[in-house]
């Protein structure tokens, strides 16, 4: 192994400048995890290329040497997607940070994968345009990571996820082949392979260029904040707004622990004694917005809002959202560690699921703060724990599994937008049956027959599911009766 590493380092240094090839433990430690720091693994080597030729050469070398490769953007992932391999190369794409072209007339921007999400919107703001998907991590996360995770955000309720907002993706496969997927026109001939690579979690190819769709900034955008004395009532409020046929630009919910932590950071004027708040944004033409604001206001009052306040101006609107967007790390103020869950549920189940989470929280004796995209039923319960207390992480994981299990039981899924990564790989066995998983493996091997790109993530092997199923026999049924047991 040591020899292999040594040999590989030497060869990599022929492809890249010496400072772009990291091999010492001291330099590699900071790369051992993404934003899910409970999962850590020291990479054998990390490389920081800054052009496509280098990426191709690194991939070809690794394919020849049979060394697994894990791509990394900004490392803000929350499912361990960029978790390195001890026997692999970590391919850091952060230096691909140039905006290559902005086409004002066709409303597209072509960017390198390491450009941050927010940088795209900033670069086109003077043209009155923006890039719609806005993960809360948008300040730091990269477009490459967004495509790989099919990321969503506050505004995706109205404007769609990453997959709905990209036109063309250029990627390099493990054997060095350059692919162009999708196209600059709205529809490209053949299968929609750009959609296929979106959400592929770095398993199919390394993304080296993305052309995104830009939208005109809405004429007016207004947000209101509604406070509730019961979480369930806020849930009803969400159902009422959606039920009335309104499509808010964003509809977000936070419960009390989350409100307290974020208020301390953002000073946005959130009511810290409310049990839950909803942030509801509507955008469009001024008259239409004014009318919808009135309807939303009335609906939320009917649902039991005790207090409603609209942001006075653009500054306050930004402040309302800055609290929400900083919510995950802001809980660092009330707990040394948090574990973010990312499940979806049918919207009508909101109140019931939240009650159940509360019950589970008491049962496992772990605090839970809830922050989520209420409008599309994407939950983010944050389990607050202390990694320095032995056993707490394990308990946290059990609680997380119980919550996700419940999401599936009420008809939801185990991931809304953060991806499967390593974190939810076992739950994939709950979500899909063996035949479905086999199809996914077929797609994987069409792109990467050697299985060297980000192995062990996103799609579990059938053997792994069998093992997992043996431990979790649900409803008296064995999960994979057709598979041999260990």
């Amino acid at each position: 192994m040591k020899n292999k590493k040594h040999r590989l380092l030497k060869k990599l240094r022929r492809i890249l400048p010496a400072e772009a090839v990291l091999g010492d433990e001291e330099q590699l430690r900071p790369y051992e995890c993404d934003a899910l720091s409970a999962y850590r693994r020291l990479p054998m080597i990390a490389v920081l290329p800054d052009n496509v030729a280098q990426v191709r050469a690194v991939l070809q070398l690794c394919a020849r040497e049979q060394v697994p490769v894990v791509a990394r953007g900004a490392g803000t992932g929350l499912s361990g997607g960029a978790l390195p391999r001890t026997d692999g190369v970590l391919l850091v794409m952060a230096r691909f940070n140039r905006i290559l072209a902005v086409d004002e007339h066709n409303r597209t921007a072509t960017v390198q994968p390491g450009v941050t999400n927010l940088a795209v919107s900033e670069a086109v703001a003077h043209l009155g345009l923006f890039y719609a998907p806005d993960p809360s991590s948008q300040l730091a996360c990269t477009i490459g990571g967004n495509v790989a995770e099919n990321s969503g955000g506050v505004h995706c309720l109205k404007y769609g996820l990453t997959v709905h907002n990209i036109m063309e993706v250029k990627a390099v496969t493990m054997d060095g082949t350059a692919l162009t997927l999708g196209g600059r026109a709205l529809d490209a001939p053949g299968f929609d392979l750009a959609a296929l690579i979106t959400g592929s979690e770095g398993l199919l190819g390394v993304i080296v260029e993305v052309t995104v769709k830009l939208l005109p900034q809405p004429d007016t955008a207004r947000v209101l904040l509604a406070a509730f004395d019961q979480v369930e009532k806020a849930g009803d409020g969400v159902a009422a707004v959606i039920g009335a046929g309104i499509i808010p630009a964003g509809l977000e919910m936070m419960d009390n622990p989350a409100i307290r932590a974020t208020e301390e950071f953002a000073g946005a004027g959130y009511p810290v004694d409310a049990e839950a708040i909803l942030l509801c944004e509507v955008d469009g033409m001024a008259e239409e917005v004014a009318a919808q604001m009135e309807t939303v206001d009335a609906l939320l009052r009917q649902a039991g809002a005790v207090h409603i306040r609209a942001a006075r101006d653009e500054h306050e609107r930004a402040l309302f959202w800055s609290g929400r967007k900083g919510a995950f790390p802001a809980v660092g103020r009330i707990s040394p560690d948090y574990y973010c869950i990312d499940g979806t549920i049918p919207r009508r189940e909101l109140g019931r699921v939240l009650r159940h989470i509360k019950k589970l929280s008491a049962e496992f004796n772990l605090r839970v703060a809830n922050v989520f995209h209420a409008g599309d039923g994407n939950l983010h319960p944050l389990i607050l724990y202390d990694a320095n207390v032995p056993g707490e992480l394990e308990r946290t994981e059990e609680l997380a599994a119980a919550i996700l299990q419940h999401c599936v039981e009420v008809g939801g899924t185990i991931t809304g937008e953060h991806g499967v990564g390593v974190e939810k790989i076992n739950q994939m066995c709950t979500q899909f049956n063996a035949r479905e998983l086999a199809q996914m493996h077929a797609v994987k091997s069409a792109f990467d027959p050697g299985g060297l790109l980000n192995p062990g993530k996103a799609v579990p092997t059938l053997a792994r599911c069998a093992e997992f199923g043996a431990m979790h026999v649900h409803h008296g049924k064995v999960a994979f009766p057709e598979l041999e047991r260990f």
Partner: protein
């Protein structure tokens, strides 16, 4: 984040403080986006989150190599990361400890690097030595190569310092470089406050900041004590505030209470001085200063020093004063980014510093300003070294 600090530090005050800070970091990575060095270099190791990790592994007992030192050296100490961090991680304090531990445990620096650090410590914090060398340089300037010449600040006449005539008094900390390089700044401050009923009395020399960040803790703390001693008689005589016109020094004086908290002889005095310390802009705002209207409609681009906006979290105050004075304050892109001056950074990391300066001037000039204003002597000299647009301390413009 999970931590397991090593025995050598775990139960020390430094260790406990570092542990508390590290535990607050949730490794989200948001801070990477606003870090000037990460934006230039694209490596986790040159980002706040990466540096926090490097410090963590060092404090957990891992061997400290040249890499840890290199990446900590490259940190500007600008604290943009603190402004960004939703979790409230006090990166500046962690860095201070990290640098000290790295200095003790990392392999020795090259002879050249050590000599440069010694030279800086021997000159910069000593106002007389600095003034002497600066005068020689100014005399030699005409025969020096252009590139070098640009770095030497020109002599500018200082307005007269008004005689103390008011009952209300404040101390102004003179600093090390400023009296020689830009005596006009404090004199202008004294005049402005004099017009508003406060007499400003000069005291003290170097605040110790340069030494503390190098890090040369012993020398830095000695200078801090000296400054406290120099201000103390005036404080005892009822000075209302210790005013600092250089935001870089202001942030250091505000830290005295923390830096000297375990020094029985100075803890209390340090607490008092820190509690009285004010950035000049805070004083101007508190006195409701109404500036005289500027003669013409001039466009000013304001570069808010990191020590003002991130270190002291003062934003919008100077801009408002300038606007009240009739200037048009032109917004420039990337206002949160460091200009690369950062204390002695321009001497120790010349390449990165140059790049940051270039970017900063490009950003400031998009606003097509007639003047550039700032609030710290280091930034002022650094910016002026590469532009023909006059760069002034804001108080000189009021």
């Amino acid at each position: 984040m999970q931590t397991a600090l090593a025995d050598f530090i775990r139960e020390t005050p430094r260790g406990r403080e570092a542990d508390a800070i590290l535990r607050k970091c949730v490794h989200c990575g948001l801070c990477t986006a606003t870090c000037p060095t990460y934006r230039l270099l694209g490596s986790e190791l040159d980002s706040p989150r990466g540096r926090i990790y490097l410090i963590k592994q060092m404090l957990e007992g891992a061997a400290v190599g040249a890499a840890t030192q290199l990446h900590l050296d490259r940190c500007l100490g600008c604290r943009a990361c603190e402004t960004t961090c939703p979790s409230g991680v006090e990166y500046g304090r962690l860095l201070e400890s990290g640098k000290i531990v790295a200095e003790q445990n990392a392999p020795q620096r090259s002879t050249k690097a050590r000599a440069l650090r010694r030279l800086i410590l021997a000159v910069v914090p000593h106002e007389k030595r600095f003034a002497f060398l600066l005068r020689i340089a100014q005399k030699l300037a005409p025969v020096l190569p252009r590139k070098l010449r640009a770095k030497i600040p020109q002599q500018r006449a200082a307005p007269a310092w008004p005689a103390p005539r008011h009952r209300r008094r404040m101390v102004v900390l003179r600093g090390c470089v400023q009296p020689a390089a830009a005596p006009a700044i404090d004199a202008a401050a004294a005049q402005l406050l004099d017009e508003h009923g406060v007499s400003l009395l000069g005291a003290g020399g170097c605040c110790g900041g340069v030494a503390l960040h190098l890090p040369a803790a012993k020398k830095g703390l000695a200078l801090a004590r000296k400054t406290i001693d120099a201000c103390w008689p005036l404080v005892e005589q009822g000075a209302e505030a210790v005013v600092v016109s250089a935001s870089g020094c202001a942030v250091t004086v505000k830290e005295y209470a923390h830096l000297l908290r375990d020094d029985p002889a100075y803890a209390e005095k340090a607490r008092v001085v820190s509690s009285l310390a004010r950035d000049l802009s805070e004083v101007a705002a508190a006195l409701n200063i109404i500036p005289a209207i500027a003669p013409r409609n001039l466009r000013v681009a304001f570069h808010s020093p990191c020590t003002l906006q991130h270190g002291q979290k003062i934003t919008g105050v100077v801009e408002r004063l300038l606007e009240d004075a009739g200037y048009t304050v032109a917004a420039a892109p990337n206002p949160h980014l460091c200009c690369g001056s950062a204390g002695t950074y321009s001497l120790l990391q010349p390449e990165l510093s140059r790049q940051l300066l270039k970017n900063k001037l490009r950003d400031l000039h998009t606003a097509a300003p007639d003047l550039i204003a700032t609030a710290n002597i280091g930034c002022l000299l650094h910016l002026q070294s590469r532009t023909a647009t006059p760069v002034r301390h804001w108080v000189e413009l009021l």
